[in-house]
Amino acid sequence: MSSQAVTITYAGPLVFLSTDHWKQIYASLLSQLPLRNLHWKSSARNALRSIQELDVKLVALETLRDDHAASQVPQTVLDKPLLNMYIFICEDSESYRVNNRKHIKEWHASVSQRKNQEWLIVHVVRPDQNVAQGRLFQMKASVLDKVKADFNADKKDRCVQLVWSAEKDSPAVWADLVTKVKDGILSAFDGALKQREDEVKRSEGQRQMPGWNFCTFFILKESVANSLEGMNLYEDSLQQYFELEEIFSQVLREKNLSWFGTLITPTPNDDSAPLLSVDKKPYRDLILANTISVFDFRIYLLSRECALLGKMGDMEELCRKAASFLSTFARTLREVENTLAPFFIESWIYSSALSVVDQSEDWARTLQLDKPALASFNAAKGELVELARHQLDILGIAAGFLPNKPPFSLALPSFINLADKSPRNRRASMDLTITRPELLSSLVDADALYDQYVSITNRAIDLYVTAGRRKFALKMHGSLAALDVHRDRLGNALQTFTSLPAHYSPHGWTSLEAFMLNRALDIHASTEKTKDREWIHILLHFLRAYVDGMGRDLLMSEEDSKVYVEGLVASLKDAAQEMDSDIPSPDHTVLSVSLPFRDATLAESRDGALLGIVVQNKLPCALPVDEVEVQLGGRDNTKITFTVKVASLAPGLNKLTAFCPSSAPGTYALFSTQITMSRLLFQWKHTKTAKQIRAGNLPTLVHIPKDHCALDVKLKQPPRIELGIPSRAVVVLSTGRNEVASAVVKLGAPSGVTFKYAETEMIGDDPPPFRTENDCVMFLDIKPGQTVAASIPHSDASAYHYMKVTITVDYVTTSEQAITRTLRLNRMIATSLPVAINVEDFFRGTRLVALPTLFTMFTLSTTSHQHVRVKTTQLSSQSESSGVKVTGCTAQKPSVVTITPVQPGRFLFQMDSIRGQVREGLKLHIMYRMLREEVESLVELAVKEAVAEDADIAPHRQDIVDKLVQSLESSATWVELYGVTGELVPPGVEPSDDQIGKGLRRALEILKQKRTPISFGDWREIVIPVDVPQMHILAAARLQILENPVAEGTTKTERRKRPLYAGQPISALLAVQTSFHWAPLEDKKVESYHMRYEVEDLINDWLVSGRKRGDFTARVSHLHRDGETLTVPVTLIALHHGELALPKISVTALPIIAGGEHRMRSSVVPGCDTHQVHGAEKVLVLPRGGRTTFVVNMGNNDAINPL
């Protein structure tokens, strides 16, 4: 029926039709078929319909006539020919008139009367005739024109000429004819269809009238659909069926079903027949006879639709439609289930679904489906196969081969009555059975059912997997596993159930995850396998899913689950004990630990801190655990751990207090928590990444207060620092309330610095016994309240200003011998000195150069911004017999020198040496302290005094000190006053009315008193070794202006009487005296040095005349080792008037000439220090004023007399 094709009739003169020529033409015409690219513009439809390809049947007109219009049943419009062709051949118009015209007329008369049929006259000419005709063109009309004139009455051109010969056969020859044929077919089809559709519309309009028959209507409408299908217009055809379906459902709703038979009249094999076969039953006859059942009718409708969909290549829609139909119609069938064979519906769905899959695969074989289409086709097929599988579920449950519980029972329709289905309950009156063989065998043989079940399920899985539907496949796997459980193949089932949760958990499908895990646990229990590590993991996952909320829904009732979980938890505890190694379980959700308080409290009676924690147990039952542990992280990766032992955690919130024996004060961030259950460790990490913190997700902070009574350790610089010997650090350990049995102190310093524990020295009275090891020092038996100080030398750390030392103290108290407490602190210790010291030496002679003394100036400046208070400086020789006598130049007043960054302190010492003695090194002792230290100790003292007066304020002592120090830090206005008077007035302190305020007021009073800084506090000391300088030659140079240039010898005391004028020569005497008093002892043998003096050029002030530069020899006098004096007269001319300084004289020692006894020191330049004796002298030079007259004596011998 579906192989409908458009029919075209042909006719022609019998003579012509019997020629070979016609046969050739006919063959050529057939080769032009099928027609391609037809464009149908229908008046009833909006869009232009394109027909890619249309099959055309060519038949002779005579053969057709007989069976035409025999039936009343509307056939398709294509039953009748759409186009009639008359083909003739004719040489010229004459022969046309004689031979053909009559025939054509007869034909035309018969054909043109037919409704909805087109006609076409084809005039065949040979190509050569065409040329001949062209010649005659103007003389007479062609045959074609004549034909047109005879028959073509209306506008439409229905005559065509075919210029054809066997030699010239090409599509171009046919083009004109083919176009005409297409036009003719389409116009005839359009007319016919329009007429038919009008009929349909009319019939549909009469629906409410009595006597209207749906079946008749259906046939009518279907003929439209068939016609469209015949024209290859599948979509339009399908639309007709959709409309039919719509109308059917309307009719169904109106219950106007009188013309239908029963819902279903089951015939054998109904349940196992292929669904999509349209000819498995004589459907059309049944419809015509009004005896078709709804069942058959629906199937017929569906199969027609599917056939069309198949032709369109829409496989996905086909399968989906079938599946949807099976499901929906099955529901309808259930209503009359009692009248059907047992399991008829299941069998029908099963067979139909599978047959649809087979059929669609068959159809799809010819199609080229692209990837997404193939995937969705596979998915649709998968759904069908799954539908079939569900029927097996139902059958299995009904037959008792499968348990009536999930997942098998999922397939059961909600209203099914299993009792009816049971084979034992089979109705005796019914001897109908289903006919699907494999289902029949499945009903009696469990293994057959199982095999069938597995193979169908696997088929569905394969289809789903190729379709990319992973989640559907998972579901199928789950059901396979369930079957394995039922068949006691527990190994397989366990494997599946343990692997499935992993697929559900990533997206939070805890409900399904929990279900799978639950199954796994059940199987585990029923197989009585050992509760090993794997079991624990399954259980932990299960509990996680269980507490996530949704997991509970699928399992069981609330009470049951509680008992169930209790049992699980108990066996978890047992299993955890059996384990031989720890099982960490990170971030489990069953338990959670939180810190409700941000402050830890002190344990008071002993060292350590208490931290309140809340553990939430989300299980409905108590969870037996051993210990809860909270780890906090502080600065520099220090970690402290709070622990609390608990037997079990009750459901809900558990408030616990954890204790940490060794806690350093400070702020800590929650680092990690751990709850121990035998070998099972629930762990959580709480550290936050930088990204989380940026997002406002801040870490939990805990503050641990300072315990004043706890053991404490401090690191200090020793009070006396001596340069040149190894540096030391002082460890001060105060026990507080503890009686310490042993305390091991370890110091960790930056790289390169090592502590020499072996050389530890105890400081202070009553030192406790101690032991030193390579890496620590251990103190034993320290009493409560005792403070132990030990100084430990360390290697050179001068590369750092400050050294960061990690102090670790492991100590055991006598009261709690079992606990080793660890105190871990980071302390900074200054390694550099707070002052910098510069030394300058000056040699001066008391009696000119005869006995030069040495003045040494020490400049002390602070290295930081802080003020340093210097109490005394003292330069001392190490022993009495030293050859140096030191005299302090500064008057030793009891005042304290303050060194500030802007104002360094200078300290001058005079040294006299006894010649020829070995001079030992000296030491500079500086007693100093930082201003801050001083003031802090002053505050401490003041507060101590205040506390001593009033015991009530004792507890607030630290607060008062802090407050005062804080106020001193806030502003520097008090410094000046304090520096001058010693009165300390902290700015901005406003005492309150409580105890603190009281103490504060008293302390302020005490601080306000006048005092000298020497009266209180400790001073630090620096000892610096100082070398006594040595100098080979000391020279004293002097330029002296002489009163009288002529006079011999000079006396220093002679006062200059004559004024000096600019431009006039001035006589002067240059004197250089040398001394060897401070020469090194090894220079004893040297007798003379070569020296050079030079007068400084001051070209703007002085002209120097005379021996401006000269070498001389300084001889060592054997008597007192002082050199001689060299005197050289020079003349100076002042270049301008004014107060002028005299030129300086530089004296240098020339290198000692190589050879002789000095060979070893050939390249040595002896040290030489020159003292400008006249360095501070200035002379007044007057301007040369007035007029000067020169009288030139002409031959007279009188002296020149300037006026």
């Binding site: 459902s249 499901s327 929906t328 999922l410 909600s414 909320g549 997700n697």
Partner: protein
């Protein structure tokens, strides 16, 4: 569900309004629907369609499953009892729109967030996780609105 990690996580409780039904079945339905939604999504992206309504996803036994995805990729799935009569898309779409509106109202409710942990402060799906009684009431309300 803005966080990619939580993609396809069940943010709503899965509820059935039929009596005596197996919960597991509906969990399975919701879960497997995601596969189909993904398929439809791929097709929708290919055709540049912006329609939220995903049409009938599939039918299985006695339920028809419909899908809807909001512009923010929140997926709503309805499973209706299968009947022989035609269910019009427009009706299903009305239900979806009502559910979507209810969801929007609920998410916009600042009080729903009070109990949520600070950790997930920009992941609003966590506040809607199943088990919150508030949300349960909401869901019922939404359904009655749609019905």
């Amino acid at each position: 569900m803005p966080s990619p990690l939580k993609l396809n996580a069940p943010s709503h409780l899965i509820r059935t309004f039929a009596q005596g039904q197996d919960e597991l079945k509906y969990h399975y339905i919701a879960h497997t629907s995601l596969d189909v939604i993904d398929e439809r999504n791929a097709a929708a992206i290919a055709s540049k369609s912006t329609d939220c309504y995903m049409n009938l996803l599939y039918t299985m036994e006695d339920v028809a499953v419909y899908g809807y995805m909001t512009p923010l990729k929140m997926k709503i799935i309805i499973a209706l009892a299968l009947t022989d009569s035609v269910v019009r898309d427009a009706d299903v779409l009305t239900i979806f729109r009502a559910l979507h509106t209810a969801y929007r109202h609920a998410v916009a409710n600042p009080f729903l967030r009070l109990d949520a942990p600070i950790d997930g402060h920009n992941d609003h799906a966590t506040v809607l996780l199943a088990g919150s009684p508030k949300w349960k009431r909401k869901a019922v309300g939404a359904f009655s609105l749609a019905a």
